[in-house]
Structures are given as C-alpha cells and as structure tokens.
C-alpha cells in the first residue's frame, strides 16, 4: 500500500534497503564467524573435547579412502573385540560436509589440512545458520525481525558453546539444517510452491544426515499441521508443504544408513504418518465438500465418518499391537527420557550419567540465552498479532523447545534459535512501535535522529507490503487493514518512546557484552588443554595430549587401552590405540564390564581386563591439581552402570551412610577398588599427606602396593595415569608362605632361630 502511495521514490528506497540489508547480513555472517575464533586465538587451532575427535578421525578416513570405504568402514580399533560399523552407525552429514569442503578447497589448489577444515567448519556453518534464521524470521514477520533475529543468533551463547572453532560436532551443521528445514517449510506454507516443498525435503534429508535431533522436526511439523487443521486453517498450501515432506523425506531419511528402517519403524516417526493420514482425510473432505451440495455433503459425512471410524480403529489396533510388541514401546531410550524426564535416571544410568543429559538449572538459561529469556514472551505476543500459519509455527516451536530444553541441558541448543527468532520479532516490533510513535509525533523532523529511525522503520515496513504482494489470496488483507487502525491507536508518548528505544538498545548492548564474554571466556576452552590462573600467573595443563602421545610412541600398535568411555574417542584419535569402550555408548554391557572392572578389587579387575586382552589402563585423576571432572568423581556412575548388568557390584558398598567419600571414613570396598588404587597409587608421595584438592580431603588409604598392575606413565600434573597389566606370575609359589618369605627377605625366622646356625643372630 505504501509502495503505491510513495511511488517511484519509494522503490529506490526499497532498493537501498535491500542493499543495506544485504550488507547487514554480510556483517552478521562475519560476526558469527569471527566471534567463534576466540578459541583459536586464545589457545590453538585444535579439535575440542571428545566427540569432535571421533568426527575428525572419521573425516580423515573419508578424505583418505573415499566415500564408499567410509560407508563400509568397519572399525576394529574401538569397542574391542566387538568392533563398530562406523558407516552404518554414524550420522554422516557433518563428515561429508567437511570432507566436501576440504575436497573443494584442495581442487582449487588451496592446500588446507583436514584438521583446519574441521576446526573452521562450525564457524562457517554458524554464519549460514544466521542467514537461515534471517530467511525464516523474514517469512514470519518481515525483514526487520529477520535481521534482528539473525544478529541475535549469530552470537547467542548457547549456540556458540557448540560451534566455536574446533568444536567439530554434529550440532554445528545440524542447527543450520534445522533452521533451513523450518524456513523451507514456512516458505512452502506461504507460497504453496512444490519447488520449495522439494527443497524442504532435501533440507530435511540433510538434517537427518547430520543429527539425531531430526526427530524434533518430524514431530514438530506434524504438530503444526495438526494445529492448522484443528484451527480450521487447512489449505492446499498446507497440503503441499506437508505431504511431499513426509513422502520424500521418509524415503530420503531411510537412505541414511544409521536411520534406515527406523524411518518407518520407530515410534518417533509415527506422528508424521498419522498426521499424513489425517491431512488426506481432511483434503478429501474439503474436496467432497466442494463438489457436493450441502445436503449431499451431510450424507457423505455420515458415511465417511462411519467408514473412517472403522478404518481408524483397525489402523490404531495394528499400531498398538506393533508398538506393544517392542520392549521400549518403539521409543529409543533417549526419546523416552525426553517424554518422561525421570525415565533415564530410573532405567538407563548410561544416559543419565552424561552431564549434558541432565536438566538445566536457571543460571544455565541465563548463561545460554541471556536477555532473550525475557524477550521471548513479548515475541510470542507479537506472533499472535496477527496469527498467521507461519507465526503459529514459531510459537509451537518455542513452546516445544522450551519443554525439551528443560529436560536436557543439551537441547538448550534447539531452544536458542527459537528464542532468537522470538526475541528478534519482539525487538523488531518494539522498535517498530516506538519509531512509529516518534515519527507520528514529529512529522516534519528530518534530523539525524529521524533518518536513523526511518531506516529502522524502513526495513520493518517493507514487510507488510511484500507480504501483500505475495499473499494476496490470504486473509492478510484484513490483518493489514487492522494493523493500520492499530497504528493510529498504538501511538506512545514521544519521551516514553525515546527512553524505551534507549533502554532496548542498552539491553541489546548488555546482550552483546555477555555474548562476547561467553565466547571469549566460558565456551572457548578446548577441554583437552586446560588453563588456570593463580597468584603466580597462568598455568597450562596439557596432560591429556602428553598421555596420548606417550601411548602413541611407547606402546605396540595393537595394544588395547582400557579407560572409562569418556576418553575412548580421544584415545583412538590421538593415540591411535584400540579401546574397549568409547563415547558412542551403543553397548551397555560392554561399558558395564569396564565399570565393573573399575569397581572391582585388583585381582578381579585384572581378570576382567585380561579376558579383554587389555594391556594398559588409563585413569584420569584430578586430585593433584584440582581438576574436578576426573574419574573418581565419575566413579559412582561406573558403579551404577556396572551394577546394572553385574549385580554383585552394589552401590551402597561404596557409600558410607549414603555419602560418597574417599577419606578414612570410606568403605573398605571403596578403598580396595581398582579405581581408587589406580588414582591414588603413590599419591601420598606428592605432599606427604595425600590431600585431594578436588574432594578437599585427605585420602583414606595412603600406602599400598599394586600386585597386578604396574604404573608405567603419569603425566606432569598427574592428570592422566597409565598402568600396565602385569603378566601372570611365571611361577606359583608354594604354600609355606609366611615363614619362607620372612626367611628369604630378612634371613631371620622362627626356624633359623631354633637351628642357631645363622651367625648374625
């Protein structure tokens, strides 16, 4: 409307606005990329943490051996002796993405190492994710909201935590894929174009390739479709947006080896099929309604309803039978623990043991999304004025993701884009209202302030006009008229508006400061190199790499290293040694075996490890330097997981009056278990007292010897200790132990005394 009013001058302004928003987007991309480089600048260009090492190793294999070998890769260096079919159990999206990047760069004669490409994949994709957010929000609420949301997402700490340079994990590309899929769904919904529907299916395929979180999409979109149908918003656009996605998406998803038949077999996908059926029924009803007279239609409805009920009952009966036949009711453990947050802690300690599967605390919300948490409600309200298909989708998105993030801290990552979109909408709407109020009250002002607000308004105002062009068929007409009336009504006092804008800008500034701080301080530590500041300066703990390098250089290629599963990926990737269990926790029994060995006394542990051909045992010990996420702190999980499979390991045996302690009050079982011994062996030699700085107590048993293990390597700060299994004794001693050993060691004994032959006594 405004376009026709202003005529030619305004088209120029729109062109200018487009160029401006292009440059803003470019800057947002650069911001998203560069805010994630703190880790490289402060530390070095390394792969971070645990899972990224596995992804890095897989990428190396991919670039070396090609895609077919990768697909068929049977890895005999993990999960000894079971091995792992990597090609069939890994989400290949990230690896293929980075591999392709590397390949393209190499074909352009840019010789980057695979590691460099892997390190920088996450920042690149977070820029992409910011752009995708722009597109998605633009579809929902226009360009201004889009730009705002993109800027917020570019630096939201929750996403930064998973996508700093070096954090080479599935989530890095998956969030981009998630947002793109949502964008294309909304785009299809708004345009009704089959072209976008197909693109949507492809984006969904990319998401399935990248992350197990794709089930969120395939449940959220059906929910939205159902919502639209229930609220009487069914249209052919909805059908086009949904039906091709289910058909093509399911076909494509089942092409990914790790998903395969799960795409049609597991309960996570049932919702989409159910809604698929429903939308067809609804489409049929609408079609019949169109060709029949109202009277005939009523007749037909009764007919269809009665037949449909019978069919539905049959289908539901079959479904229930199918679901009931599977022990977990067709749900994977992780999904079940999402629906029932207490499920994991009750039945699957291995899922509950992972810190990122714990429910988050309120501070972590504040840490991860900061001021967005307060803007989200405003965004939700803005989405209801007016409620379109698209805005109802983002509302649904934020509601579900808030719930999921409340269950698992890891899913905060899914919440972050939703929160950014909502906050973007809220901020943009607020600016819209305030600047409009200012403009209405100062019609003749053409000072610097007005120009600035104009621009701001510009990008915002672009929205309704564009929408009008595209969505003429829709009832937006009504909405825009309504919004025109609202515009008149919603004029705030000038001073209030100016102050509110200032406050909002201040809020945004706080957010930026917080994000930069989070990126620089909180989330950029690679966790394989640790630093600490103390009164005498900066300390760097590089013990992990020291230990892995020792293993790589001092052990045989085929030697097996046992450790708690956290260190499995790093050991295979950095030390290139075979491990028993690793971070891909697919076999609970195997992990329980290692847990049992760690919680058993030395001899029993030796037998377990020996039966697994283990040569070396690696434990992480933080007691000397105060590194709190060490094996002693994780030990109760080992006991729990081990005891879940081998009932002779009982958790109460390790607890004194329900308290976990390692001091002199600890239980004998605790003081004699392998983990205690391997952690605290010779520890008393460091300070003479054996004071554990993590537990803040003196250890219970200070002087003991190892009979079946020998210490072969301990890193500089004692953070990693490596033990070797002693071979079985060459000889078996006779029975006459006590007197003989005394006789041999001190040449004095009861008997030599009686014989009076020893000249020394």
């Amino acid at each position: 409307m405004e376009a026709t009013e202003n005529g030619k001058g305004s088209t120029l302004r729109y062109a200018f606005g487009n160029v401006l928003s292009f440059f803003i987007l470019l800057l947002i991309g650069i911001l998203a990329f560069s805010i994630r480089l703190f880790s490289v600048i402060k530390y070095e260009s390394v792969i971070h943490e645990f899972d990224p090492y596995f992804n890095y190793r897989v990428t190396q294999y991919l670039t070396k051996n090609g895609i077919y070998d990768f697909w068929n890769w049977f890895d005999d260096r993990t999960w000894y002796p079971l091995g792992r079919v990597i090609g069939g159990t890994v989400y290949p999206g990230l690896t293929l993405t980075a591999g392709t990047l590397w390949w393209i760069l190499n074909s352009l004669n840019i010789p980057l190492s695979v590691e460099t490409v892997c390190v920088f994949t996450a920042p690149i994709f977070s820029a992409n994710a910011a752009w995708a957010t722009y597109l998605l929000t633009k579809e929902v609420k226009g360009t201004g909201a889009g730009l705002m949301a993109a800027a917020l997402l570019a630096m939201v700490p929750s996403y930064i935590s998973r996508s700093v340079a070096g954090s080479y994990d599935n989530e890095a590309v998956a969030i981009f894929a998630l947002i793109s899929t949502f964008y294309l769904y909304i785009k299809t919904l708004n345009t009704g174009s089959l072209f976008y529907a197909t693109l949507n299916a492809i984006a969904y395929f990319y998401m399935v390739c990248s992350w197990g979180g794709y089930t969120f999409i395939i449940n959220l979109i059906p929910m939205h479709v159902l919502l639209c149908i229930v609220t009487g918003r069914y249209s052919s656009r909805l059908y086009i947006a949904y039906a091709p996605l289910v058909v093509l998406g399911t076909l494509l998803a089942s092409l990914v080896p790790v998903v395969g038949f799960n795409a049609v077999m597991t309960s996570e996908h049932f919702a989409s099929f159910l809604v698929f059926i429903i939308i067809h029924v609804v489409a049929l009803v609408y079609y019949i309604k169109g060709i029949l007279s109202p009277k005939m239609f009523k007749l037909a409805v009764t007919l269809v309803v009665s037949v449909g009920l019978v069919v539905c009952c049959a289908v539901i009966a079959v479904l229930i039978a199918l679901v009931a036949s599977s022990p977990t009711k067709g749900w994977s453990g992780r999904s079940l623990s999402l629906l029932d947050p207490t499920y994991a802690s009750k039945y699957i300690p291995i899922i509950a043991s992972v810190s990122e599967h714990q429910p988050p605390t309120w501070p972590s919300y504040f840490m991860d999304i900061n001021v967005l948490a307060f803007l989200v409600p405003a965004g939700i309200i803005a989405c209801f004025l007016p409620l379109s298909d698209a805005s109802s989708f983002v509302v649904l998105y934020i509601v579900t993701s808030v719930y999921f993030s409340g269950v698992m801290v890891r899913l905060m990552l899914v919440l972050a884009p939703a929160a950014c979109i909502m906050s973007g909408i809220a901020l943009s709407e607020a600016f819209d209202v305030f600047t409009r109020s200012i403009k209405f009250q100062l019609p003749g002002v053409s000072g610097n302030d007005a120009v600035k607000t104009d621009k701001n308004e510009d990008s915002v105002k672009e929205r309704p006009s564009k929408k009008n062009k595209k969505k003429e068929k829709e009832n937006v007409e009504k909405a825009s008229i309504k919004s025109q009336i609202e515009k008149r009504l919603l004029v705030l006092p000038l001073e209030a508006s100016v102050i509110a804008i200032l406050l909002l800008v201040l809020l945004g500034a706080f957010y930026v400061v917080h994000c930069v701080w989070a990126a620089a301080e909180a989330y950029s530590a690679p966790s394989i190199v640790l630093t600490s500041y103390s009164h005498d300066g900066l300390h760097v703990f590089d013990d992990f790499r020291e230990a892995y390098a020792w293993l790589r250089h001092n052990t045989e290629v085929d030697d097996k290293v046992a450790s708690w599963w956290d260190y499995g990926y790093q050991t295979t990737a950095m030390a290139n040694r075979t491990v028993i269990v690793d971070n891909n926790t697919w076999n609970n029994t195997h992990i329980a075996t290692v847990g049992t060995a760690m919680s058993s006394p030395e001899k029993a542990a030796w037998e377990i490890f020996n039966s697994l051909d283990v040569k070396y045992v690696l434990v992480v010990f933080g007691g000397l330097v105060g590194y709190s996420s060490d094996d002693i702190n994780k030990f109760l999980w080992m006991v729990r997981i081990g005891g879940g499979v081998f009932p002779h390991i009982k958790e109460p045996d390790y607890l004194r009056d329900g308290q976990y302690r390692i001091d002199s009050q600890a239980t004998p079982t605790m003081l004699n278990c392998l983990m205690y011994k391997l952690s605290y062996y010779r520890f008393v030699e460091t300070d003479g007292k054996g004071f554990d700085r993590v537990r803040q107590t003196e250890i219970g048993k200070k002087y003991f010897k190892l009979t079946h293990f020998e210490e072969v390597f301990t890193t500089h700060h004692w953070m990693v200790r490596i033990y070797k299994l002693k071979p079985p004794k060459n000889r078996i001693r006779g029975k006459a132990k006590k007197s003989k050993s005394k006789a041999s060691s001190t040449t004095t004994s009861r008997r030599s005394g009686t014989r009076k032959k020893n000249p020394w006594h």
Binding site: Y68, N72, G83, N730, R731, I732, K735, K740, S749
Partner: protein, 436 residues
C-alpha cells in the same frame, strides 16, 4: 679403518660361536653352572655329570660359597642352567642369592635342585618360590616300612626304593624304567592347585616323613603318596626346574648298587637311578618335549595371500607348523589333538587340526556370521610339553553395501508392485490429461 672393521667382524663371528647357547631356535642348554657343597661331590656323583658331558654340556663346577661365582655379567647370563648340589649352603658366594636364582629362572633358564636332610633355608626358600614345600622339620626324612630297599649294608627304612613314576613318555622317555629308584632324603609336598608343578616320583602310600632318630610324638605332617620325592616345575615361560629331596639319588653309589624292594623277590642288578636321572635331565635341559610353532598362515579358500580382514561367512584355511626339538634338530611333531579356536571373547569355532605327519597342521572352516575382532588361538598344553599359546588377531567385517544380492526372489512381488504402479500412474496421467 678396514682393519678395525675386520677385527670387529671376526670378533662378531667368534661371539657367534661363543654364543652357541640356549635360544629359541636352539633350545638345548649348553653351559651349566654346578654349585657344590664340597668338591668331593664332583667325583662321587661323576656318573651323572659324565652323562651330561657326553651329551655335549659344558659343566662348570664351583663351590657354592666361592666368592667369584656370578650368574650374569654386563646384563648377559653366563650360563644356560644351574645345578644346585649344595643342600646345606646358607649363603651363596659372589652375587648370587635367592632373587638372582629366581630371576635366572624367570628369564627362561633351567634349574636342578637337590636338597637333602637338613636342607638349608636358602634351598628351601628357592624351592618354595618354585612351588615345592619341603617338610618343615629339618631333621625329617622319608621313612617307609613297606617299600624300602633291602640292602646288605644299609638296613634302615630311610632308603626308599620307589617305582611310582609319572606316566609320561615325554618326561621319562619311551623306555620303561625297569628298576626302582633309590632315594634317601627329605620329602616334599606340592599344592594340588598348582598347575605348574608335577610329581615325578611319589612315595608309596605307607611312607611318612619324620625324624628317624627320635620317637614319633605327634602324627607326621606329610604322609602317604602325598609325599613327593622328585618333582618338576615348568614355569610359564617354559623354564624347567627339577627338585629332588635327595642329593644321594644322583650319586654313583646309588646308581651302581643293585636294588631289591622289600617284600619283592625280584632283585635288580642295577637300580633305576641312572636311567631315571638321564631321562629326566634330558627333559629338564630341553632335549625333549620342547615344541615350537612356526609359519602360522591363514587365507581364504582358493587364495594364497593373507588378508588383513575377513568378511562374515568367508571360507578360510588355517595352517600352523609345529616342531619338536630333539636335542640336535627340529623334528616334526605328530599329534592328533591340536585344536584351533576362532575366538572373540568365547570360541565361535573350535576345530581339531589335521596333520600331514610332517609337522604341518591345517584346517578349513567358515567364518561365523558375526563381525568383530577375532583371534586365531592355539592353546596347546600337554603334560611334559612346553605350552604353545598362539594368538593372531584378525578382524571380521560385515558385508559391504554392494555385496548383498542385488535382486532377491522373495521380493519379486514388490518389484512388480512398484513397476506396475509406475506404469499405472503414467497411463493415468496420459488419460487424465488428454482425454477431454
């Protein structure tokens, strides 16, 4: 420069000659250190020593308390085995003590210990470490009132004539030991749970261990056939140890004297000692019962190269050569009970290997339908033989994506369904679009 090289090379050649000693390739011992209580034993036990020397061993006789004796110098062992004929010694001379002797054994060398009544703590300590417990009473001897040796000169009941040998050709030779073995000395017991110690010569059920000079006040601690007179130990590293409770068993006098077991009418002109000890020393010094496995190979049926990885359901062949050391050369080992396991935490395949009688053992089997890291395991432990324990790791992978059948018969209805649907859709489209 070249001269130095020449000297170096010749010295290496000499070294090679000097080093003609125990090695995995040539497992018979060559240099033996004999530690004696006094040098008279050298002559009084000369029959035993001579039998060793005629078989090519170099014996080095030293007094047990000789301050210059040493087992190793500059990290090299000077001897391949040790004979301790010094039952009363309290402390060795030189650098030898209990732990050096045990280290000597633990590095794969052999040991013969002859104890006697009033054996010293040192000898007892070494024996205990090897798994043999001598009677704690220092004055005790093995006494047997039924199977003693009837003799003109020595009429007491401590001279045992025992013929309760272990039934093993590989330890005591093919030829049956005809006469009983004369024994006078201390008895010992072994822990039945100890799988490394074997009783070679046991006392009769009527024997007991006590001080013959004093009255028996309380029941003897060792009685009956639990008493072992001579035992052998084969350590896990295949070092072999012979422990005897009697030094005089090795003596010329016992070897030469005739023997008549009490209550038996047969009188043997010559005791079994010489034959028994010769055969036993052959075993101890690895002239018999030493096995070696070589050339472990495996490959798919019809191929020659060893793959790095098998696929499930592959057919494979497994070969291993097993030889036995005869004292001078490696001879094919012939047996029908060698088994191979295809092992991943538990054996998935257990097959007895067939042999071609020339030392080559082989079998063929199908890889089980399970993927993982398997091992070919041969665990061959037979009485008297060195233990063979071979394991070779081999991963087994699942099918590759293109190794499945492309079309399966059972699925033809589905193929038919999809193609008919495609055709039907095409026809429907044509009809719908152009039929108006």
């Amino acid at each position: 420069m070249s001269r130095a090289l020449l000297i170096f090379l010749t010295s290496i050649a000499f070294l090679a000659i000097l080093c003609n000693s125990f090695s995995p390739e040539n497992p018979t011992d060559r240099r033996i250190l004999v530690l004696l209580d006094d040098l008279a034993i050298k002559s009084s036990h000369s029959l035993f020593f001579k039998s060793l020397q005629t078989r090519g061993f170099e014996l080095d006789f030293k007094l047990g308390d000789d301050p210059k004796i040493a087992l190793r110098r500059y990290g090299q062992y000077l001897y391949d085995s040790l004979i301790l004929f010094s039952p009363t010694i309290e402390r060795f001379g030189g650098s030898i003590d209990v732990s050096t002797v045990l280290d000597f054994v633990d590095s794969g060398h052999d040991l013969i210990i002859a104890a006697d009544t009033s054996a010293s703590d040192l000898i007892r300590a070494i024996s205990t470490e090897c798994g043999v417990d001598f009677d704690e009473d220092p004055a005790a001897m093995v006494i047997d009132h039924t199977s003693y040796a009837v003799s003109d000169t020595e009429g007491d009941r401590t001279l045992i004539a025992s013929d309760d040998f272990i039934q093993s050709d590989v330890i005591l030779g093919n030829r049956k030991i005809e006469a009983p073995v004369l024994f006078r000395g201390i008895g010992h017991s072994i822990n039945p749970a100890n799988s490394l110690v074997l009783k070679i010569l046991s006392a009769s059920p009527s024997a007991y261990s006590a001080n013959p000079k004093s009255k028996l006040s309380n029941p003897p601690s060792l009685t009956g056939s639990a008493i072992s007179l001579v035992s052998i130990v084969q350590a896990r590293n295949n070092a072999r140890i012979l422990i005897s409770g009697s030094l005089s068993m090795f003596s010329n006098r016992f070897s030469r004297s005739g023997v008549q077991k009490a209550g038996s009418s047969t009188k043997h002109a010559k005791s079994g000692n010489e034959q028994f000890l010769t055969e036993l020393s052959k075993w101890v010094f690895h002239e018999r019962g030493h096995l070696k496995a070589a050339n472990v190979r495996h490959h798919k049926v019809g191929e020659a190269d060893e793959p790095a990885m098998y696929r499930i359901n592959d057919d494979l062949e497994y070969f291993v050569e097993i030889h036995e050391w005869s004292g001078t050369s490696w001879e094919p080992y012939v047996a029908n009970d060698v088994q191979v396991q295809f092992y991943m935490m538990s054996p998935y395949v257990l097959k007895t290997l067939s042999t071609d009688q020339k030392g080559l053992y082989f079998t063929a089997f199908k890889v089980p339908d399970v993927y993982g890291v398997f091992q070919f395991k041969v665990e061959y432990q037979r009485l008297g033989y060195t233990s063979l324990s071979l394991s070779k790791q081999i991963p087994v992978r699942p099918f590759r994506h293109n190794e499945y059948e492309r079309f399966i018969t059972e699925a033809f209805p589905y193929y038919g369904a999809s193609f008919s649907m495609m055709a039907g859709f095409f026809i429907f489209t044509v009809v719908y679009l152009y039929n108006k």
